[in-house]
């Protein structure tokens, strides 16, 4: 069974050399990146992993989203990466690396299976980013969307069939 899902990509954090965007699902108050952090309040079991994720994001804001800092996830070439965490290694936060200056964050959570494909919790987040990567590539090709320095310019509203 599928349902139509509507969402947009919006700017969440802006830095001198990089912009952090995130997916914002229609009808939701927060972006997916903010919803991710909301799942891990201060004092939760994963404080240290969240600290690593934020410290890593802050370093990326400073140095740029160089390819070598990412762990590829999803399918080959779709640009979906996972934030590398070397502590506990349980929490996953997914993002789409469009360039050294543009990241689009999705959601994530605690790993509950060997691969994201086997995880009922994480698979929807990765699939959403894979589809978004496909939509963006196609819009860049037809000229309805362009990446200019650290900005994504054009139509940032999307619709997809979501598996239920």
């Amino acid at each position: 069974m599928t349902a139509k899902q509507h969402y947009s990509i919006e700017l969440v954090e802006e830095y001198e050399n990089i912009n952090f965007y995130s997916i914002h699902l229609d009808g939701k108050e927060q972006t997916e990146l903010e919803a991710f952090f909301d799942k891990f309040p201060i004092g939760c079991d994963y404080d240290e992993e969240i600290d690593v994720i934020i410290s890593w994001m802050d370093k990326i804001a400073e140095k740029g989203a160089l390819e070598r800092y990412f762990r590829p996830e999803g399918h080959y070439g779709d640009g979906v990466g996972v934030i590398p965490i070397d502590v506990g290694n349980k929490v996953r936060l997914y993002c789409l690396r469009l360039s050294d200056k543009i990241l689009v964050f999705g959601n994530g959570g605690v790993k509950d299976a060997a691969t994201w494909q086997e995880s009922e919790l994480l698979a929807p987040y990765v699939k959403l980013l894979i589809d978004t990567s496909r939509f963006i590539s196609s819009r860049i090709k037809d000229g309805s969307l362009v990446l200019v320095d650290k900005e994504i310019i054009g139509n940032l509203n999307f619709s997809r069939d979501e598996e239920k």
């Binding site: 802006e14 952090f37 240290e48 600290d51 934020i54 410290s55 800092y69 070397d86």
Partner: protein, 112 residues
């Protein structure tokens, strides 16, 4: 510049030690990357020099790996280049050499 209030609120509580670890890890991997580029080597070359899989080296190079001294020494040896340098006390607090020199100088005989 735009910031998310939710992320900013969480950012304020990041353990400074974790931040320092990640910062040092980035410095280490950037230095390793710099040596590889200077020597015309790839991560897979470092993997074969260390007898490891490329995936493991790639995992180290993402900025959050907690390097052990053993690993750092083996990388320094494999690449024949220094990665970390220890700061010695003398270089942090330079001593004034003028005073001891004066004290060691023989006293001149008084002017006639």
């Amino acid at each position: 510049m735009k910031r998310s209030s939710i992320i900013e609120a969480r950012r304020m509580h990041v353990n400074p030690l974790v931040r320092q670890n990640v910062d040092l890890s980035f410095q280490i991997v950037d230095r390793i990357h710099e040596i590889l580029v200077a020597k015309g080597l790839k991560q897979k070359d470092l993997a074969s020099l260390l007898g490891k899989k490329e995936a493991e080296i790639s995992k180290w190079m993402r900025g959050t790996h907690n390097f052990t001294i053993d690993t750092l020494v083996s990388i320094e040896k494999a690449l024949d280049a220094p990665i970390l340098q220890v700061v010695h006390q003398e270089s942090r607090y330079p001593v004034c050499e003028f005073e001891p020199m004066m004290a060691n100088e023989p006293l001149s005989p008084p002017e006639p």
